[in-house]
């Protein structure tokens, strides 16, 4: 138990109240829909891939401030990255959430504000929901391309 300031930094509340990259992409290259079985939160994630890069990324769905802020920060951090860079970004964030990596602010951007979530094990899943959805979405996209679908 600590003050609410421990977890809810101003940057997190800002992304929660003013979500970036919210909505769906109509002509998406790949889409996933995932949920957090602990709380029932849902996340829709769409990517538009152009020349091997994430030209656009959007997330939608409902959730707590941590999951919504994390999704908002993800769209800013991943937009413009090529697919391998995006996967590396997700993996870095995942390790940070599990306390297994020093946070790299250059890579994470605003998402560095989520570093403190690692101390709240139940909330780590909230933060990871959209980020792992991107990993799955890229895998789906690559499978579709490989199978010529």
């Amino acid at each position: 138990m600590g003050g609410p300031y421990d977890l809810y930094q101003q940057l997190i509340l800002d992304h929660y109240r003013n979500r970036r990259g919210r909505g769906r992409i109509e002509d998406a290259s790949a889409s996933v829909h995932e949920n957090n079985p602990v709380c029932g939160d849902e996340c829709y994630l769409d990517i538009l891939v152009v020349d091997g890069r994430i030209a656009e990324i959007r997330t939608d769905g409902d959730g707590c401030s941590i999951s919504q802020a994390a999704a908002s920060m993800l769209t800013e951090a991943a937009r413009g990255k090529d697919l391998d860079e995006a996967l590396a970004l997700v993996e870095h964030f995942r390790l940070m959430m599990h306390g297994e990596a020093e946070a790299d602010e250059d890579l994470l951007g605003d998402a560095i504000a989520l570093e403190g979530v690692a101390r709240y094990p139940v909330r780590v899943k909230c933060a990871l929901l959209s980020w792992l959805a991107l990993r799955d979405c890229i895998a789906d996209y690559r499978e579709t391309v490989a199978t010529g679908g």
């Binding site: 138990m1 600590g2 609410p4 509340l13 029932g40 939160d41 707590c64 401030s65 941590i66 919504q68």
Partner: protein
């Protein structure tokens, strides 16, 4: 009818008997524990009884001829006597399980997996805990049977007209929760059991949220099976209870096989021990039965009428206090005569997880999530709710801390 004054209990005095509530947490914060529907706190005497069992007479039950083993068996079986007495049920038809979930699974497998057939129906309600839904789905799937869900009214009560319509010649089992862990609703289980029996169906009453909080008479309810958990009634985790109507257990094949549940074992096959031991394979939760017996003695000392009267008052206070928070929605009945002291709610603009996390920073422990009632959440049109749940040790201080925390929470998240 006795007045509330005659039943008054002193929650502040009772708190002194609970080590977790009697002293602040490390760091000096007072705890406002409002998650007793998930698990109750334990009085010192329950902890002491289990400690004494391990220190004084730890031995395996039933088999030993030496004095310590005999005493261990006596203490273990005394726990069964206490539990049976509390719900006015014959001791031999009172089976110890791991938890309430296992008690329901026992019936789903020992009865359902053998007796359900193609086209048969198990009727549950939309407000069941997953523990009274999923076991039936698994077994029904195995046997080609169907699980149907009786709807819940917008007011948070079982739709009894729908229930009447849905119970039919194909209905073999009606499984219903006595008090909803999410909505707090007290359901008319006597009436539902009678309706089911009239149609020739058996019944399972999930009494997990009723036995700890009010007088429950298993015989008066008349259900074929009734399940509850030790840890929600001041007892330890790791022990649950299945109370079965006379004749039911005798007619069923065992659930788990192993030691203690047999009468004879040969290379050709086995025969079964008498009830209740036929359904208690392996070394049972001995210390837990001792602790649960002590918890029952504690509850009997307070009086279940008094517990119910106190919680009715706390529920009233909680509904009033939550009503003072702007933008707050309460799910479930408002009339405290028809509800327990578990209250689910949501606050516009603040996710239940954030409510629970913020309240934690104020020392207020509430739960957020689907409360293992996902079909109900879908019917309510929400993904999750926050839930505050009281017990005999809950005071008006706890309720006020909840209200003040929620008002501050709205300000923090910028919806005030």
């Amino acid at each position: 009818m006795a007045s509330a004054a005659q039943h008054a209990l002193d929650a502040r005095a009772l708190r002194a008997e609970f080590p977790i509530l009697a002293s602040p947490r490390p760091g000096g914060d007072e705890v406002h524990y409002l998650d007793s529907a998930a698990t109750s706190q334990k009085p010192q005497r329950v902890l002491d009884s289990m400690d004494a069992y391990y220190r004084e007479t730890n031995a395996n039950v039933h088999r030993g001829v030496y004095e310590m083993a005999v005493e261990a068996t006596e203490r273990f079986e005394a726990g069964r006597d206490a539990v049976a007495r509390l719900v006015n049920h014959p001791r031999e038809a009172t089976v110890f399980t791991k938890n309430a979930t296992e008690a329901i699974n026992l019936v789903a497998w020992a009865w359902g997996a053998r007796e359900l057939g193609e086209g048969d129906e198990v009727l549950v309600t939309m407000m069941e805990h997953h523990s009274n839904t999923v076991p039936w789905q698994i077994v029904a799937d195995l046997r080609g049977a169907t699980v149907r869900f009786c709807p819940v009214t917008p007011g948070g009560e079982i739709d009894m007209d729908a229930m009447r319509d849905m119970i039919g010649p194909r209905t073999r089992m009606v499984a219903v929760v006595h008090v909803s862990n999410t909505l707090g609703t007290i359901n008319p289980v006597e009436e539902i059991v009678a309706m089911a029996h009239e149609a020739g169906a058996l019944t399972m009453v999930d009494a997990t949220q009723s036995v700890p909080h009010m007088p429950v008479d298993a015989v008066a309810i008349g259900s074929d099976f009734l399940a509850f958990a030790g840890h929600k009634m001041c007892g330890p985790t790791g022990i649950g209870v299945l109370a079965a109507a006379p004749g039911r257990l005798e007619a069923m094949e065992p659930f788990l096989g192993g030691g203690e549940m047999i009468s004879d074992v040969t290379t050709e096959g086995s025969s079964w021990n008498d009830i209740p031991w036929k359904f208690e394979a392996g070394t049972p939760p001995i210390a837990e039965a001792v602790g649960l017996g002590e918890a029952v003695a504690f509850l009997e000392g307070v009086g279940m009428q008094s517990v119910r009267a106190h919680e009715k008052e706390v529920a009233r206070q909680m509904l009033d206090a939550l009503g003072e928070v702007p933008g707050l929605t309460i799910y479930g009945p408002r009339d405290v005569e028809h509800r327990g002291a578990s209250v689910s709610f949501s606050v516009d603009g603040v996710h239940p997880h954030d409510i629970a996390q913020f309240l934690d920073s104020k020392g207020v422990c509430v739960r957020a999530g689907h409360h293992c009632t996902k079909p109900l959440m879908r019917q309510l049109g929400v993904q999750s709710t926050a839930r505050a749940s009281a017990y005999l040790y809950t005071t008006d201080d706890d309720v006020l801390a909840l209200r003040d925390g929620l008002i501050e929470c709205r300000e923090w998240f910028g919806v005030a």
